[in-house]
Subunit: 143 residues, 2 copies
DNA sequence: AAGTGTTTTGCAACACCGTTGCAAATAAAT
DNA sequence: ATTTATTTGCAACGGTGTTGCAAAACACTT
């Protein structure tokens, strides 16, 4: 099932199917949230070299399988793109939420980034909206 | 003039006046834009230790003299707070613009971050809005 | 202005992060 | 099954951010 899904995703993006790529894609599909490089390094076990993970993430980014999320703690996170953002063309204009309690980063798929009017002379190419606070599940635990 | 301003800023925030702090504050006042750690390291000359710069930025952050701006290239930038955000309480709810041409990061002081409605259960603490593209001055050069 | 106590700085050392070149291993194509 | 192209792991490197500690600089008192 997930094995099949992973293979299909790789094929659809014209990537050769290797152990490392399968493992990392699997992690993203299981996780439903964003992962940093080091998250992946830990979760993947000792089976893959750091360099392979860097290169795989880079490849996935270029192919539009994942998108990157800037953070204020100097650790870029990556998350699966939902719709087809193939060829590096992303249209993931949703808000990213970072929980200060559990540390998870999630994509709020249904919260759109509002459009912004820039001063004259500025040309907008990409917009990132990061909201930090307490997420749904951490909030429930406090009750 | 600027010397005086720097001293006043430090005094107002109950910080002892040292060469390093003066130099770094000076850079921020001159620059009118955001600076990364390495920007400061380069601009300050070889006069200050890396560690001192790290610690100074940390101190300025805590005192609310500067705020940090997340970026997608793994290099946090810092910018002066305009109004009094003393004691680490920031209210710099403006948009940050990163120019892909010149690499500069500027605070668009007059572009407010729109308020966002989050799904139930999520509690918002801080909002960061990053827009990348081409800035005013780089745009003019293309004409 | 000098002495005292406190804060800040620079140095050394360290662990981590991200990149590159190259040879070996793996996947794809025939 | 063999060949060709791609991917991986290793080694090495430079950059980044942190900590402990001793020396230096600062603030405060007299």
């Amino acid at each position: 099932m997930i094995e099949k899904k992973v293979d299909d995703l790789l094929k659809k993006n014209h990537l050769s199917i290797t152990g490392g790529r399968k493992r990392i894609l699997e992690l993203f599909l299981q996780q439903e949230g964003a992962l940093s490089h080091s998250d992946i390094e830990k979760k993947a076990g000792e089976k893959f070299d750091r360099v392979t993970i860097y290169r795989t993430l880079q490849t996935f980014l270029e192919k539009g399988l994942i998108h990157s999320i800037p953070t204020s703690d100097n650790s870029i996170r990556y998350a699966l793109c939902k719709d087809d953002c193939s060829g590096g063309q992303h249209h993931d204009d949703h808000v990213h939420f970072i929980c200060n309690a559990c540390g998870n980063t999630v994509c709020l798929e249904h919260v759109a980034v509002p459009s912004i009017e820039l001063p004259g002379g500025y040309v907008k190419e990409q917009v990132d909206m990061l909201i930090s606070g307490v997420c749904k599940s951490c909030n429930h635990q406090d009750l």
